[in-house]
């Protein structure tokens, strides 16, 4: 394998990690801050991809991005209303929306489960044309990914310091306290989920356009992959300030991609990706728990042995 091929592989991995890190940042808001495990993530990712693709195919490459984000927001709104106003358990609300989105996404894609954007003008082809004959010509996808990730991190860092942002964080931390600060946790949960889902949809939209096609299954397993990345990032930068933690979430996505790319090099079949992400999530969540239980386990074991 030539050096340029390896570099190419590295670049593709980097681009993928950048696009998917937007979903990680979405979970940073909903899972870490709001303390809601949003299981509609997979469907919302595919929704963003579908809406983005359809709008781009209709001839509006730049409009595809706000359109995808608005669709994600709407999906987040439905999830939020289900769990805050209609008595549906928060996990179940996500699962229900996720299931419903499967049909919605096929409907958006005009009844087909696959959309091809080979000849479509996308934000990528547009930037590619602009950068033609410059040294950056090969890096158009990377640039778009970097801009999107930087914009989302900057937004979150600023937003989470506003009164609304603080209220969203407190909702995940102690809803009683939010209520006694005369803020409605229903409102903060709704805003939080709308924003996080718009990032998830953006993530799906960019990934689909970069690979010039989307399927209805494009988001399958995304929530676990993103959660794995988030938790990896947490290991490194979990106790720092918000902007640093957001950067950590993105780094987590890179580390995850790196581990996965290396695994592929060792001839691990591509379909193992999801199993790896599941295992990482299990390790990241139950690791600290088992460590805290370790003295107890040891004592019990010691007693039995004595």
């Amino acid at each position: 394998m030539s050096l340029s091929a390896i570099l190419g592989l590295g670049q593709t991995a980097l681009e993928l990690a950048l696009f998917n890190s937007l979903t990680v940042l979405a979970l940073f808001l909903s899972y870490t801050m709001l303390n809601v495990c949003d299981l509609s993530t997979d469907g919302c990712y595919a929704l963003g991809a579908a809406v983005g693709a359809v709008v781009a195919i209709a001839g509006h490459p730049w409009l595809s991005i706000p359109a995808a984000m608005a669709a994600g927001m709407l999906s987040g709104l439905v999830t939020a209303v289900l769990q805050t106003r209609m008595g549906v358990n928060s996990l179940l609300a996500g699962i229900i929306v996720n299931t419903g989105l499967y049909s919605v996404n096929i409907w958006i894609m005009g009844g087909s489960s696959l959309l091809n954007m080979n000849k479509t003008e996308t934000v990528f082809t547009q930037l590619k044309a602009v950068l033609k004959d410059t040294p950056l010509a090969g890096s158009y996808a990377l640039i778009i990914g970097l801009i999107a990730v930087a914009a989302v991190i900057l937004f979150q860092s600023a937003f989470l310091r506003t009164k609304l942002g603080l209220a969203i964080r407190a909702t995940g931390d102690n809803p009683d306290m939010v209520r006694s600060s005369s803020i409605d946790p229903v409102f903060t949960t709704t805003v939080g989920l709308c924003i996080s889902n718009s990032f998830t949809a953006l993530s799906g939209c960019l990934l689909a356009q970069s690979q010039k096609s989307t399927t209805v299954d494009i988001g399958s397993g995304m929530v676990t992959v993103a959660l794995a990345s988030l938790l990896i990032g947490n290991v490194f930068l979990g106790r720092k300030s918000i902007p640093v933690r957001a950067v950590g979430a993105v780094l987590g996505a890179f580390v995850f991609r790196l581990v996965y790319t290396i695994a592929l090099r060792f001839n691990l079949p591509a379909f193992m990706l999801k199993l790896i992400s599941s295992i990482i999530v299990v390790i990241a969540i139950s690791g600290p728990y088992l460590r805290s239980q370790w003295p107890l386990i040891k004592r019990r074991f010691g007693k039995a042995g004595a």
Binding site: K163, L166, A170, D173, M177, S181, S182
Partner: protein, 262 residues
């Protein structure tokens, strides 16, 4: 200031577990009143506070707060005029957020997308310094690192930051060691006096029930069985209070159940 008109609350109505926690309770609290409330476990004291705060709607009756009928208002709306402290110091603040962030949120000034200015943050810091606990030098630390007493003092500060008209204290010193409890209690009276707050305080300590405030209520089985203030109250001793309880409730005082301390 606060008028409760014949309010009632039954938990789990229509089931074998039905429990009438408050039955036809009427209370008029004047502006500036500092009322201590005593009563056995399960007498309905916390339920009374929950009803005032709107944690659940009452089954019947009317609640008028500051001239406004709030009977049907949701909890977070009423919170504008009510500050509240619980027995559990963990309940009043967000552990993973810094002291400063908690204070900013509790102060509640500015629009949704506003950020606390340096001046506002300095003002909060100065206020916190009044507690004399050194917390003002730990503004950036997460609240979860504080001790129970420090956390309760912080919550007290937070509850009074937005200048509530009514302060509800539900055994807010019960989880603290005696020294810290006294400190927080003195702090409470100072803040209440300085801000001319109207205050209801639940306590299991008969002596502080008589020492603090201008009026004392005794509750039993969801109603107020004894209400005293002024000279009559000034003349009362803890033993008198126990005797009153016996008379009012018409049953022999069971110290285990009362869990009262002299």
């Amino acid at each position: 200031m606060l008028r409760l008109e014949n309010i009632a609350k039954t938990f789990n109505p229509g089931t074998p577990d039905a429990k009438r926690a408050i039955g036809g309770l009427t209370l008029h609290v004047r502006k500036g009143d500092f009322i201590s409330i005593i009563g056995a476990n399960g007498a309905g004291k916390s339920t009374l506070f929950n009803a005032i705060c709107g944690s659940f709607p009452v089954d019947s009756g009317r609640i008028v707060l500051d001239g406004q009928d709030v009977t049907m208002q949701p909890e977070h709306k009423r919170a504008k005029v009510i500050g509240r402290l619980f027995q559990d110091p963990m309940r009043g603040s967000a552990p993973n957020m810094s002291i400063e962030e908690n204070l900013v949120l509790a102060a509640g000034s500015g629009g949704w997308l506003s950020r606390a200015s340096r001046k506002e943050r300095q003002a909060l810091r100065d206020k916190l310094a009044l507690l004399d606990m050194g917390l003002e030098d730990r503004m950036k630390q997460p609240v979860g690192l504080l001790s129970g007493g420090q956390r309760q003092a912080l919550t007290l500060m937070m509850a009074t930051l937005s200048m509530p008209k009514l302060l509800l204290l539900d055994e807010h010193t019960a989880a603290l060691d005696p020294g810290t409890a006294e400190k927080v209690l003195n702090l409470t009276t100072r803040i209440v006096e300085e801000n001319c707050l109207t205050c209801l305080m639940i306590t299991h300590n008969m002596q502080s029930a008589l020492d603090f405030g201008n009026r004392t209520l005794m509750m039993d089985q969801g109603s107020i069985v004894f209400d005293t203030e002024g000279d009559a109250r000034a003349a009362l001793t803890v033993d008198d209070l126990l005797e009153k309880f016996r008379q009012a409730s018409g049953k022999k005082l069971d110290n285990d159940r009362m869990l009262l301390t002299k």
